[in-house]
């Protein structure tokens, strides 16, 4: 099948990239995972348009692009509310909509969250590199979407419209409390440092991005003791560099790191961080591995049911 022109990019937005669930399987060679920052919103977008959950989407950051539609296509927009519009009319998020050639998909004022996902029914024509469509510029995979780019793809046959009900749509707050599993470097923190970490409010620095969220403690800093050997760093790891101000390592993090880590944000809370804007507030509380895994299973079950429901609809 030949790919068709889907969108002309009239305006690019500030940081618009192709992302999927990430480039897994090559971390032992030093290749970052990358992938969607908010994997929940990302997967829902795909499900709503009837795709496999891992199909590549556009990830849009704070200021969205302006896209001119060039062929009939089904679209779903999830994640941050950046006031998506078609030809000047605000369109609903978290549901699939049909667009026609000549329609202009654009975004208005920022309402909440940071990252929105644009899925099309079918697939974007974007090269698979090491098995993934994720853009990771620093590692040499893909590039930013730019003005006057043309975006090609393989639009699927029109499917019934489908949406998420109100109570299932996440609300993105500017002040969040996230759950953390402590470790793996417990021995590099005193009880006092640990308490100070869990009792502090932190502010997200403007110098935060897809690699990491830099935090600033409202009072003081977190002390570490001794050095650690470099080891693998999962999404959500909280490392404490020598200045004592935590960094939460996000999608584009390096595969390994050498700073002591006080904990790891549980996977079901990562979306909240991915949607927390600069100057947002964050605090942490410890939970057990068992509870964290129960929540991860619950989230997976929700996505699985949604996917089933979508499939039965067609």
């Amino acid at each position: 099948m030949k790919s068709q022109l889907i969108f002309n990019v009239n305006k690019a937005g500030v940081y618009t990239t192709f992302q999927d669930m990430g480039r897994y399987g090559y971390q032992r060679f030093g290749v970052p995972v990358s992938g969607a920052m908010d994997t929940f919103a990302f997967q829902v977008a795909n499900i709503l348009v009837g795709n496999q959950r891992n199909e590549g989407c556009l990830e849009v950051t704070l200021i969205g692009p302006e896209l001119e539609v060039k062929c009939p296509v089904t679209v779903a927009i999830t994640g941050a509310n950046l006031q998506p519009q078609v030809n000047g009319e605000i369109i609903p998020m978290w549901q699939s909509i049909h667009l026609q050639p000549g329609d202009i998909l654009h975004f208005g004022r920022h309402q909440s969250g940071v990252r929105a996902y644009i899925a099309i029914g079918g697939a974007f024509d974007c090269p698979l590199m090491l098995g993934s469509k994720s853009t990771d510029i620093k590692s040499g995979f893909g590039k930013l979407i730019e003005k006057e780019d043309t975006i090609y793809g393989y639009p699927a046959q029109k499917k019934k419209r489908f949406g998420l009900s109100g109570q299932s749509i996440p609300i993105y707050d500017k002040s969040i409390d996230v759950a953390v599993i402590e470790g793996p470097h417990q021995e590099n923190f005193t009880q006092k440092a640990r308490e100070s970490f869990f009792n502090s409010f932190f502010t997200v620095d403007t110098n935060s991005n897809r690699m990491g969220y830099r935090l600033k403690a409202e009072n003081g800093s977190i002390e570490t003791i001794g050095d650690v050997w470099s080891d693998a760093i999962p999404f959500g790891s909280i490392q404490i560099p020598p200045n004592g101000q935590p960094i939460i390592l996000m999608a584009d993090r390096q595969t390994t790191g050498g700073y002591p880590r006080i904990g790891t944000v549980v996977s079901s809370d990562l979306a909240k961080i991915a949607q927390l804007p600069p100057q947002g507030k964050i605090c942490f509380h410890p939970i057990s591995i068992e509870e964290a895994q129960d929540r991860a299973v619950e989230m997976e079950l929700f996505l699985w049911c949604l996917e089933k429901f979508r499939q039965d609809l067609n």
């Binding site: 090559y26 060679f29 030093g30 290749v31 470099s230 790891t264 991860a296 299973v297 997976e300």
Partner: protein
């Protein structure tokens, strides 16, 4: 058993080995990774070795932390079976100094050695790749001769070209891709450490390999470089 297991979030576990970081431990880690991978556990996504630990990424809805711990505790790792395992030795041709190694002089001066001595000492050991990280395909090599240890540059370069061979503190390494960097660049290899067009073997190195640097002339560098680009060069591996 001489390792402990810790959760690193709800999607990864870290297997921490207790002994010193040595080539023997590295062998043991390699063997452990092979065994874990060999179990073909459904929820395991990937296995990432480091200096004295292995991190296993998994999907909590396919495998729980406790079940995974049990499976790992049942593995025996004494490392003895490694005697028969092959270790690759990869020869890496390097042109030292000049425009290819602008900081060779600095390393020599800092350690009060001649340029020839630095080149000779740098080629002397076979370096073990303890792990890959920092950049795609970047090898963490041990052990650099202590007489060559040189602090990082105070002003990192905005761009270091792919193939550059550098020294920082007690480490030596090779830049696999162009990157900003503060290492003292003493030479350059024409080999490609990362080749994404090569779908079967995109990376030249893996953890556990040995690297031997071999000095070449500028003419040889250009010849090898051309052969690499046209896909005709065969890397020497023992």
């Amino acid at each position: 058993m001489d390792f402990s297991i810790k959760p690193v979030g709800d999607r990864a576990v870290k297997v921490q080995f207790q002994q010193e970081v040595t080539p023997q431990l590295n062998m043991k880690i390699k063997s452990f990774c092979k065994k874990i991978t060999g179990l073909n556990i459904e929820g395991v996504v990937e296995v990432v070795p480091a200096f004295n630990s292995v991190t296993i990424y998994y999907q909590p809805f396919r495998e729980t932390y406790l079940d995974l711990c049990q499976k790992m505790n049942s593995l025996s790792v004494d490392g003895s079976e490694n005697e028969f395992e092959e270790q690759r030795l990869i020869k890496v041709p390097v042109v030292y100094g000049g425009e290819y190694g602008p900081d060779l002089q600095r390393v020599a001066k800092y350690n009060q050695l001649s340029l020839e001595q630095v080149i000779k000492l740098h080629q002397k050991p076979d370096y073990l790749i303890y792990m890959l990280g920092f950049l795609p395909g970047f090898p963490y090599l041990g052990e650099l001769n202590a007489d060559l240890a040189t602090p990082r540059m105070e002003n990192p370069r905005k761009s270091v070209s792919a193939g550059s061979v550098g020294i920082a503190h007690k480490q030596t390494g090779i830049y696999p891709v162009e990157s900003p960097g503060g290492w003292n660049i003493i030479g350059k290899t024409p080999l490609q450490l990362v080749d994404l067009a090569n779908e079967r073997h995109p990376f030249l190195f893996e953890a556990g390999d040995l690297v031997r640097f071999c000095e070449i002339s500028e003419t040889e560098f250009l010849e090898i470089e051309e052969a690499v680009v046209s896909g005709k060069y065969v890397v020497e591996i023992e």
